[in-house]
Symmetry: C2
Subunit: 239 residues, 2 copies
């Protein structure tokens, strides 16, 4: 099985993804939030790029049964129902709802991967479930870190490394890795024992702490909390 990691979405620019299963990660916080929302019964999450597009889509869908969610600079967008904190997406609030979501990095990476054979959404929260789905799929697989404003983000690289390691444990290591996949595994080995500590020193982590959202940071390190494997189908993420 062939597994590669891209530390930023730009690394996949110009590459034909037609045969790939792409796994998108934005651990702090978009993909953690999507996993949490679908695990708590949301009907679907529609990722969109811009605030205007989010508002238009929510209106087109009819505001009944739709939640408008997203952030800019970590904070809820004015007039939106929810921000991008997984802790907001409780069963009470999201069960049966369709969520329109726009974030700075994660939704952009998901939309950029849309030409792949399959697009799965991963985070620590559903790590084992995604690893199992990758083994079942057989690949080739590209794990794409959303990064942060086009740049490398350590929290995503660590989750990519954790995912590669999980898959390797299930396939007896019989696979090819690219340079980034091997580096991600080594970074996870270096930092994995104290994810919350590692996250707190990242650029994204510091911004969340400054915004008073430290609880999100801790929650996003929790591993194998949910068994959902969200997948993008026809512009909607469902599980």
């Amino acid at each position: 099985m062939k597994i590669e990691v891209a530390f930023t979405p730009a690394e996949l620019a110009g590459i034909d993804l037609g045969d790939r299963v792409v796994v998108v990660l934005d651990v702090l916080r978009a993909t953690s939030t999507i996993v949490e929302a679908l695990a708590n019964g949301a009907r679907a999450v529609s990722p969109v790029s811009t605030v205007d597009e989010a508002v238009r889509l929510a209106e087109a869908l009819g505001r009944e049964g739709v939640l408008l969610a997203g952030e800019r600079r970590s904070l809820r967008i004015d007039g939106f129902d929810m921000g991008n904190s997984p802790l907001e997406f409780t069963r009470e609030r999201v069960s049966g709802k369709q969520i329109v979501l726009t974030t700075t990095n994660g939704t952009v990476a998901i939309l950029a991967s849309a030409t792949a054979r399959r697009v799965l959404i991963a985070s620590y929260l559903n790590l084992g479930a995604v690893a199992e789905e990758l083994v079942h799929d057989g690949g080739p697989a590209s794990i794409v870190c959303s990064g942060r404003e086009r740049r490398f983000a350590l929290e995503d690289a660590l989750c990519a490394g954790a995912l590669v390691r999980r898959v390797s444990e299930r396939t007896d290591g019989a696979f090819e890795l690219n340079d980034a996949a091997r580096a991600a595994v080594d970074l996870f080995a270096a930092y994995g024992a104290d994810l919350a500590g590692a996250f707190a020193r990242t650029a994204a982590g510091r911004q969340l702490i400054d915004a008073g959202l430290e609880a999100d940071l801790e929650y996003c390190t929790r591993t194998d909390v949910h068994a959902v494997v969200p997948e993008l189908r026809d512009r909607q993420i469902i599980s």
Copy 2:
């Protein structure tokens, strides 16, 4: 002092480099070759993007005293005087010459950094000299890995980590690092004891070995062989 690492040139796209000293790395092999050429008395190296541009520039400069060098898929370009192997750039061949160089990744990254306040060229061969120059300059510094066809390349990340560590030893750690700089330092800690072994497992290293260029790979791991600090000035790299 502020030091950041970009694992690919794309991570610096759209960022104003006007206040930065940018250090470009393409360890296998363009920046190792440039360091070797200037250390052996070449007058200047002119980095260009395309084969056509290289030929035109060499003709404009007058072929006397000019060497046309470069590679595609690791191999010397047809009709060129030299490839991109540092071992070819001996004092006998390059002393007093101007070199026009085009490579797949490194020269592209150098040209993309041209708007920076300063652009320095680094490799393991001149690691200590570049570290000293960075401390003297005071930054802010961006260390840019050329990567491989827009993707993360482990050999460049390791050299970035080694360079950050050298600078930190000279400044008592009094500096800010971005996520990639911290990851690079940790990767160098994991692999630095056996660089040749690590390089041999990278995508670039495997391609060199397949092309019969294993000696280049070993040479490019040698550390502090030269004291030159090549710098881009007015489209030419001089030392």
